[in-house]
């Protein structure tokens, strides 16, 4: 399932994100980063935030988002982590464990991001069912 569908699905990410109208710019960024086709509205949004470049033709290796305070950065970081962990097939050797690592600059920031991860998983029975264990907060 692509990231656009996963975010819009009320049984998945939309269960926690709620009204997606306020997440349209972030969803556009993620669609572009994964080289998904952009709607006409998303193309307009992309043009305002990407400095005039064309959308990537393939999934990028790196995505950098420069955004003002209170833009929902930690929330979207958590959502990306959950998506990449559960909806993307990874190149792992048999038996190898992979880690989706979120690095934050402080303990408080890490706790905030992990709170959003928990919120996303808890709000969706389907996502919550994928949990094996949780370290204590």
């Amino acid at each position: 399932m692509n990231i656009d569908c996963a975010f819009r699905d009320k049984r998945l990410f939309a269960a926690a994100l709620g009204d997606l109208s306020s997440w349209q710019v972030w969803i556009t960024v993620l669609c572009a980063a994964f080289a998904l086709p952009l709607t006409a509205e998303q193309q307009q949004i992309f043009a305002t935030i990407a400095g005039g470049r064309l959308p990537p033709a393939k999934r990028v290796r790196e995505l950098w988002c420069v955004a003002g305070r209170r833009s929902g950065k930690s929330h979207i970081a958590a959502a990306i982590a959950v998506y990449l962990s559960l909806f993307v097939e990874h190149r792992l050797a048999r038996g190898e464990r992979g880690m989706c690592l979120v690095l934050a600059g402080s303990r408080d920031q890490a706790l905030a991001v992990m709170g959003f991860v928990h919120g996303l998983l808890d709000a969706s029975p389907a996502l919550r069912a994928e949990i094996v264990s949780v370290s204590p907060l």
Partner: protein
């Protein structure tokens, strides 16, 4: 940075979501399927003048075998460091490997009225040259 803390969720598919408040020292040797850097412009470490760049360099080998994505999300702060370099080198460039976007708070979060302060996403710290 403050004392290292890690919060982890182990998933059925063999992936662990880990959120750490730490630096490049704990990355080496791990297999990463993705790395997400939160607020890199504000990372500090008493033992490194360049914690963001050192962490970035330490992370790339851990992502190499999985071809995992690296995502950096931050408010801009100064004309130094990893975020500034990525913006300077890649913003507005047609590059299928790296995408840099930038916007004000109200662009990314339209539920907020203009809150003043540093909400531009492009203050004096990162100006497109």
């Amino acid at each position: 940075m403050s004392a290292s803390r890690r919060y982890e969720i182990e998933l059925k598919n063999g992936i662990t979501i880990a959120v750490h408040s730490t630096s490049f020292r704990t990355i080496r040797g791990r297999t990463l399927v993705a790395a997400i850097f939160d607020e890199t412009a504000f990372w500090r470490d008493e033992t490194s003048a360049l914690p963001d760049l050192e962490t970035y360099r330490a992370t790339l080998p851990s992502l190499a075998t999985t071809a995992g994505m690296l995502i950096g999300i931050s408010t801009p702060y100064r004309k130094l460091g990893l975020l500034y370099q990525k913006h300077r080198d890649h913003f507005g460039q047609d590059d299928d490997d790296v995408l840099v976007v930038q916007g004000r708070t109200q662009v990314f979060n339209p539920t907020l009225a203009d809150s003043g302060g540093n909400s531009s996403g492009r203050p004096s710290s990162i100006a497109r040259s």
